[in-house]
Each structure stands twice: as structure tokens, then as C-alpha cells.
Symmetry: D2
């Protein structure tokens, strides 16, 4: 029985708690959160105890930590977990500072503990199937990637101020998709942005719509378009053009009901937001984490992937600010 400590009892922590509880041979032992009431409620639901970080890292029986607390706590918890030689699952991003993220990666490597970063999209049934089919050679060599990534609404401006900006809090996922799908590394990135939906976001020093272009070392091209508030909802699609065909990943819909009315033919909007859209992905990534712990798999989303996506986000931020293409090292 693997005993697990969960950091963070918020929205995403709650998702992880449910998925941890569902793993055979795994038990949620501790819940840690600065919000004691949230920690208590979540712990109670799954028969766990409330604890602080100290106790977690001292408890030799804790076999894994799941870090879903606020971003500014990630690096510290990763370092402490690495030191305590506890396997780590950590939500993205590793940190807002690329340098600190690299230190974390180094510590994880040095400690030799497994570490899975929560790029859940790679575990989504649609995206994973598409990736598998690329690997099977269905479309030959990937040449171009077009990513559409739109949210139904912006997070609170307070969050935006602390989030590192749209490239680090939202596009970090898209940069990871890019690296995973295109099969090549970025040579340079050109990013621009605009504030189209809410002036408060501009006052917070951020944008709410972006257009990113990446060129890889082999000359492959990627375009990413994002918006923080798509009036119609959550929109997560991408398409990969290869030398022999194209693969598209489409949205998922809550139901397959279609209305034929006197005016038009009408289908459901996509799933509401990431908690709904990636429900299966969250379950699959946690199952994967425990497969890694049992030695049955290598991390599919490693801390190095976390660092690499952050490097792209940082380069994109610079590109947007300085209005020029930014080379990756």
C-alpha cells in the first residue's frame, strides 16, 4: 500500500484526491493546505489526515507526494521532496522562474526520484490517440502544427498578476503540446498579444489574446492562437500536417444530441472547461504516476518537459514585449 500526501485542497487538488483514492494499492494519507478547513473537508472525504509539510516529509511511510498547491510553493516542495527521496507528482508550472525550475530538475535528477509533471493533456484519450497515430507513421513526418486554445473566461485579475502572465499560465500547456507533437525542438519563437476582452487585464500588465509562431530546427512551423475569453466556451483543438496527411484533435461534447429546427441544425457546445474536458486525462495521469512508481513506466511528462515548456513561455514573453523573434538556446 503506497501512502500519499497531497499538497493543495483546492479545485485541482480535489480532482487529484479522487483519482488517488481510486488507484488500487494506494491510499491518501495526508492532505496539506494553508486553508485548514479545505484540508479537513477533503481529508475527511477520503479518510485521510490533515498535516503540515514537516510531518509529511518526516514520515517514512509516505511513498509519494502530489503537489497541487499554489505555483509559488512548487519549487520548495519539489526540493524538499527530492531531499526526502519521495516520488513527486507536481502540477505545472514547475516554477515561474526558469532558473529555479532548472534547479528543481537538477535536484530531482540528483536524488533519482521519479517526477511526473501535470501536463494532463498528454493523457487525454483524443490527444494520446493522435500522438500514437503519428508515432505509427500515419501522416509521415510532422511538418506543421496549428493549435487552437481558448478559454471560456479569464481567471480573476488577482490571479493574473501572480501567474507570470498568459504565456506561463495558459500557453504553457500549448508549448508542451508543441514539443510533444512536432517531434523537434524550437529554434525561435515569435509571439504577440492583445488585450481585447478586459482592460483590467491590460492594467495588470498582461494580454488576453495571443498569436504565437514557432520555427523548429528542421524548419517545421507551429502556430498557436489563444484567447482567455471565447464567448462560446472552451475550445481545445489542434491539427498536425504531415508529409502524408493531417490529423486533427477535436473538442469533446457533453452529449451527442442534435436539434434540427426551422432555423438551423444545432449541436452541443464543447465540454464546459478543463475540469470537464480533461476528466479522463486527470484520471489517466494519476494512474500513470503510480505505474511509474511501480517501475512499469517511465514518466511521460518529466520535469525536463516542465523546464522546456517554461523556457518557451519565457521566450514568448520576451518576444511579445520586445516585438521580435527570440532564439532558443
Amino acid at each position: 500500500m503506497i501512502e500519499v500526501a497531497l499538497f493543495g485542497a483546492g479545485r485541482i487538488g480535489t480532482i487529484h484526491a479522487g483519482n488517488i483514492a481510486r488507484q488500487p494499492g494506494v491510499r491518501l494519507q495526508y492532505v496539506v493546505d494553508v486553508d485548514h478547513e479545505a484540508a479537513r473537508a477533503l481529508a475527511e472525504k477520503y479518510g485521510a489526515q490533515v498535516a503540515d509539510a514537516e510531518r509529511v516529509f518526516e514520515d517514512a511511510k509516505v511513498g509519494a507526494v502530489v503537489i497541487a498547491s499554489s505555483t509559488d510553493t512548487h519549487a520548495d516542495l519539489i526540493l524538499r521532496a527530492a531531499k526526502a527521496r519521495k516520488p513527486i507528482f507536481c502540477e505545472k508550472p514547475v516554477d515561474l522562474s526558469l532558473e529555479r525550475a532548472r534547479i528543481c530538475a537538477e535536484a530531482v535528477r540528483a536524488a533519482g526520484v521519479p517526477c511526473v509533471i501535470g501536463f494532463q493533456r498528454r493523457y487525454d484519450p483524443t490527444f494520446a490517440s493522435l500522438k500514437h497515430r503519428i508515432d505509427e507513421g500515419e501522416i509521415g513526418v510532422p511538418e506543421m502544427l496549428v493549435v487552437t486554445s481558448r478559454d471560456p473566461g479569464a481567471p480573476p485579475v488577482d490571479y493574473i498578476k501572480r501567474s507570470g502572465g498568459i504565456f506561463k499560465d495558459m500557453l504553457i500547456h500549448d508549448f508542451d503540446i508543441f514539443r510533444w507533437i512536432i517531434g523537434d525542438e524550437a529554434q525561435w519563437v515569435f509571439a504577440t498579444g492583445s488585450c481585447l476582452t478586459d482592460p483590467a487585464i491590460e492594467h495588470a500588465g498582461d494580454v488576453d489574446a495571443t498569436a504565437v509562431t514557432i520555427r523548429t530546427r528542421h524548419g517545421r512551423l507551429c502556430q498557436i492562437n489563444t484567447i482567455r475569453r471565447a464567448a462560446y466556451g472552451y475550445d481545445q483543438r489542434f491539427e498536425v500536417i504531415g508529409s502524408q496527411g493531417m490529423l486533427q484533435a477535436g473538442n469533446h461534447r457533453p452529449t451527442e444530441v442534435v436539434l434540427w429546427s426551422s432555423g438551423a441544425i444545432t449541436a452541443d457546445k464543447p465540454e464546459h472547461f478543463f475540469l470537464e474536458r480533461y476528466r479522463a486525462a486527470y484520471a489517466a495521469e494519476m494512474a500513470h504516476f503510480f505505474e511509474v512508481l511501480e517501475g512499469r513506466a517511465k514518466p511521460r511528462t518529466s520535469i525536463e518537459d516542465g523546464v522546456a515548456a517554461l523556457a518557451l513561455a519565457e521566450a514568448a514573453t520576451t518576444s511579445w514585449r520586445e516585438k521580435r523573434a527570440v532564439e532558443l538556446p
Copy 2:
């Protein structure tokens, strides 16, 4: 804590066991199956005990029975459960004999125990949403219903011999959909069938493809087309024409990947078969059963619904054999 006894540790029993285990405040206490090994394995997985029916009905702490054993055991178990005043969830069909099914319904009514029949399709997110939208008046009055119901492969001929035939083992679901959706009762049914895919089915006295027409008391029309072996997979669609529009229920697909190749544009086939297609429905119907037990809902698929669908199946069988429209009483 409601303690539950499960009869049947086969394919569908295993599904129910998982869904019972997931209900808050519910505990799988007993598993009963003539195949002791199957019962033991399933019981172990969920920390339950293997038992026989005797013990279940004598145990006052058993608060509900879930009947997923073979069809020929349903009536007896319903009658015993009713006598023991235990709430009942029972897989369809209630029985192959309309008379016995009516006796069961009478016993359930007399005992005053809640009884939910496993017409899981009514709990499917797509079908339930469609029904809700009819009830909201989106298409006015339902006038016609076209049901497409095709399986990827026939069951073993041995099963077919004991199943009561295609109208009772396969179309029973479609007859229930008809009653649920059209909002009226059948006046007569005309059914025909053919053996197109496997002569062994014909030798077993059954058909593997059917075309059914039902006319309701208010003159509404329904057509059902079925086949036991659709070369392309499992196909579960229906469409309802109302005075103001049409609602369609489409298939669900495992992923939303689309391939654009030099030859064509290609999407996933529908979910493989009923265990995949109705996974969410099986979970929802079990949650509903416990809502009923807690007095928070009335059975949405009652034993009377089970009897009524069986009456249609019996009329259809007669129609097919005698090549004539058969009136419902």
C-alpha cells in the same frame, strides 16, 4: 450505510459491483453466483463476502438487492426480494413470460418495495438530455420516432436459444425507448425479420435482422430497424420528429481524432459495444437506484415499464411469426 447483495458476477454484474462500490454510504456486502470462483473474485475485489440467496434474504441488514444473474432467475429473485421487503434493482427483462412478469410486478406493488429495472439507456447522458429537451417542448408534440439499433456481433447461438428471441433479448431496449420518447402507448405493432448474417441463428428459430413498425393510439408512428451483426460496429441512434422540429441522438466515439488522408476524411467508429457506450449510463442508473432508496426520487424505470416493454416484445414476436399487425390490449 446501506448493505447491498449482488446476484450475478458476470460481465454486467461486475459493472454493477464497481458502481455500487462508488456510491457514498453504500457497501457491497454479498456476491451470489452459481459460479463460485467468479463470485469469490468479485467479492474479494470489493471486500464483500460470497453468499447464497438464502443468506441474503435472511440477513436483515441487507438493504437492497441488485439482480444481474441470468434471465431465468430474475422472477424468482424478485418474488423472494419482494417477500423479504428488500428494495430491488433488476436487469431487464423481468422475465421471458409476460404472465410471470406481471406476477412479479404485482408482488412488488403489494410489498411496496422500490424496484428499478435496468433499462440503462434512459440514463445515458445523450438520451436523457434529448428526453429532457422534448419535455421542455423544444420540438413540440412528438409525432414520429425512428430507432436504429445495431449490434457489432450476435451473442452465442446457445444464448439465443434461451433468450426468448431477438425481440425479447435485443429489441426490449428499443421498445422501452419507444414508450419513453413517444409519449403515447402502442395500438398495434407490425414486425418482420430475416436471417441475413448466420444460418445457425435461423436454425435456432430466430432472426438476426428486424424491421418493426408501431402505431400509437394517437396515430404516432415508430420504426425500429435492428441487426445483430453490423459489420462496422455498435450503432445506437434515434430521431424524434415533432411538430416543431427534430431531435437526434447520435453515437459516442472513443476519441475525436480525425484523419485527412489522400483518400478521405476518417473519424473513429462508435464506442465498441454496450459496456463502453453505456458506461456513464450504468453509473447513473445505479446512483438513481440509491436516490430512490433514500426517497429522493421515484423509479424512472419501474417494473411496470419492464412489463410494458415485454408486452411489446411478445406482440412483435407474434407479428413476425403470423405476418400480421398485432393489437396491444
Copy 3:
């Protein structure tokens, strides 16, 4: 240069006039219509002359007649054209009387003149492609056919009174599709109907919704569902299940615009009605007629096809009236 006489300057005659004018080496010479003003206007548009039937059949230079006048004139005009040995294109149905239709077919055969019946659906790009793919063996042997055939609105009740009823005026096309697609002949037909949309149709002795089942000699099954007034528009689909797969023919839409709004995802309704939906088919059938005249093709929709579809319509009418399956000879 082939000189053509057109009977009928109404809606469908106007379509044919345009398509005749577009054929290379063909010239619209005469327009005949009891409505002289309509005849004059149409003739003028294409540089033709107004004439009466007498003149058409006496003019040795007339190389073909196109009959698009009212149904009650078809048989007489076919007989006169056959006698005058003029190639014939005639709108469906050949006649409302099966006996008279057979006399026409006999006269055409005896005269040895080419005769094409206006079952335009066989010339539709979607339907023709589907048929071609069946013939190529893509789905193996056709086993079941489901035809959806719904109009956006009923014709005037005055027309319905003279039309021979829904099975002869509307389903005649679907019966022809059945014969063309299923690759087998009907053994019996069972038809029912209802008056759901307009009591005036019932008073005229007709129905506005039908459900038809046909079983072929080899046991293949066909279901046809129709309604004279689908609130959402014109709906012309069918699907053929074969031993190795299924082919579907879908509707055509005026545009491929899709709206993603805060409520739903919305696409165009199908093309408005038959003049729009079958525009390409009308052009193709007329081109085919002149190919036949030049000896480059055999009639793809012969007068025998016209007779056979009428026989099905008559059997269906009897079935509906007598509430029983009706054998075909």
C-alpha cells in the same frame, strides 16, 4: 441539331427548359402548355415557339419530347410520342393507373423509342456515388435499407386530391430508390400512415406521414419513413447496411458556415426543397437523356422502372387501407 418539344411550362418544365438549352447540339423548339401565357414566357426566354401537341407530333424535325405537364396528360402524350416515334423524357409518375402505365410501357417497347423517366434522384451526385460504391463492392451484399424522406411542407390539398395520394405522389421516388439500391425485388410491402399535420389532408382521403416496410425475395429489409411537413425542412437521407459495412447518403447544405455561440454550435439546414437539392440531378438527367438519344447510353431510369415503382405505390396504398401486408406479383 436535335429539336426538342417541351410539354409543361410550370415549375419543373422551367427547370427542364434551362437544362435543354444548355445541351450542346440541342435546341428547344416548342413549348406546349394549356396556360398560354406561361408557354409564351418560357418560349421567349429560350427563343422557342409556342405550339400545341398536334403540331409537335406532326413536325418531323422534332427529335425528342420532354413531358413535364400534369400527371393526367402523361399517358396520352407518351402514347402519341411512341406512335410518332419520338424519343421521350417523361416526369414521374407514368400514370396514376398501373394498367395504363403498363400500356404505355408496352407502346414504348413496341415503337422501339428511347424513353427516360424523371427519377432525378438517381442522377444526384451523392446518391449516384453511393450506388457506384455499392456496385464496386464496398459494403458487400446490401441487406437493409433505411430511407428518410421528408418534405418541408405539403402541396395544396387540391393537388393532393388529384395526386393519387402520398404513396403515388411522394413515395414513388423512395420506391424507385429502394429498387435501385437494394438489388432485389419486393416480395411484399406493409404500409401504414397517419394524418398528423393537417386535418384537411385527412378529409381529402390521404395521410401526411407514412411508415413502410418492404421485404425482398431474398429476405432483405427496407424501411421508409416519410412526412409531408417536417418543421425543419427538406430531409433526404438513406443508409444501406451491407454484409461488410454501411453507406449513408446525407443532405446537402447551402453553405458550410458554422456558428459557435454561447448556447450551441449551429450549422445550416439542408437545401430548402427539391428544386435546390436536386438542381445538379436535374441537369444530369437531361444530359443523360441526350446521351441516350446519341446512342451513348441506355436509359438509366426506364419506363419499366416507372411501372415498377408505381406497382409498389399501389401495393402500399392497398396495404395502408386494408391494414395488411400486400404481396407483389
Copy 4:
């Protein structure tokens, strides 16, 4: 009767000839082409005469010229037509030199002759409907535009050498779509490209895949992705995100046949290439030209539009070569 002279008897000239012939009150009088045989064949088909430019511009009865000859002849013919005060329809681009294109525009304005540029996509039923719906306010203010524009195969390298490069010969259409749809003018453009499909294109100094970003004066964003050889065919889609929703323009398919096989669900690829995809658009733009001549419409694609798209193409070419965002004046 308007007499028309057509310059160019090639592929696109042939399309225009057919559409000219179909206009009521219009007559194709002259065909001009350096390839005399091509001119002769086309003239004969429509009862026109072969002529040279001299004769066309001297003939006072010529009421309009349609320029579909090679790009290097456009400017000269426009200037001569303007001088002769003959209304002009001219294929895109106006010229490869922005300066010469501006001189043409000036000449046209000075002469006061109507001039329509052949940006046929604006006349496509799908694109025109989408634009109309934006104008009706269906999605509020347009904020982002994503254009997918992929060809099934590259033109001959010889053509590429003379074409002005991919931004002028292929993206010129997409730049026009951008200006038409986004409702704002470009502030700057950033373009990159790659040679992914054929090294011969690289040797010719061009690329075969591009990724373009445009930012408008109001901060709206546009991304265009193109490839000269999409293995799966011709792909022409775009989507506009507005403050209140999104409108998508999808591909057109030759038929609506769908195959459900044991492996997948398969639909037609898009129409093969621009001659098929934009057949209706070519007809509509020519009809529009004669509406303009009759004073019933203003040019919907003016020579100023031609100049503006060319300016974007030139800026994009510079951006690609110099790896920097290029401001528009």
C-alpha cells in the same frame, strides 16, 4: 447587348468564357491569346472571334474586357483599357510590382471606369454568407481570424520563379480575406516560411509553407497558415472569433456519402482544387461584374483591394526575408 473581349484562353479564361456566355444580355465577342490555337478553340465554342489587343481596344462596340492572361500582362492591359474607357474585370494580382499596381489603380480612378478584381473567394456562397452574418452582428466585433489555406500540390517550379513567390501568388487571396473579414487594416505583419515539400522550390528562391501573423491597428490578431502541398488535398477554411461568438467557414465536399466500415467512419475529401471549390464563386463574380456595368452594384473587389492585398504580400515577403515584423504604412 454588351460585347465582351476576353484576354486569356487558359484554364481560368475558359471558366470565365462559360460564365460570360451565361449572362443574359451579354455576348463574348473576342478572345485574345498568344496561343492562337487555344484562342481559336475557345472562340469557336462560344461563337466569338479571335482578335488581338489592338482590335479590341479600337472596337467601340466592346463594352467590357475580362483580363485572364498571364500576370505580367495585367498592368498593361488595365492601362490600355482605362485609356479606352472600357470597364475592366481583371484576375488577381493586379501586378507583381506594388508601384505599378498603384499606377493602374490611379489610371482606373482617373478614367472613371468600373474595375472588378478577381478575388473570387468573396463571392463563394459559404464565405459570403459568413461575411454577411458578421455584418449582421452575429458574433459582435471580430477580434481574431485564423486562416487555413492549403493547396493539394505546388505549381510548376517555372511558374514559381515568375510568380513573385508564395506570398504574392498564393497568400494574396488570404490577405484579401483578412482585410475583408477583420474589418480593420494591418499595422504590421510577421511572416516566416519553410521549404518542406520540394527542394526545387527552395532553389527557386521560394518557400512552400508559411506562417503569417498580422496585428491590426485596433489590436486584432490574424494568423494564416499555408502549405503548397497538403497530402490530403485542397483545404480552405477560416474562423473568426468575435466578442460574442465564432463563425467558421468549412470546406465543401463533392458528395455527402459516408462509409461506416469495420475500421472507421469515412467521408469525402474536400473538393479537389480551386476550379471545383470555387465554381459557384467564379459564376457569381462574373454576374457581379455585369451588375456593376449596369449600375446596379459597386465593385465588391475593387482595384484598391487588389493594391492593398499586394502591399500585404510585399510586406510579408520582406518580413520572411529579414526575419522581423514589418510595419504597413
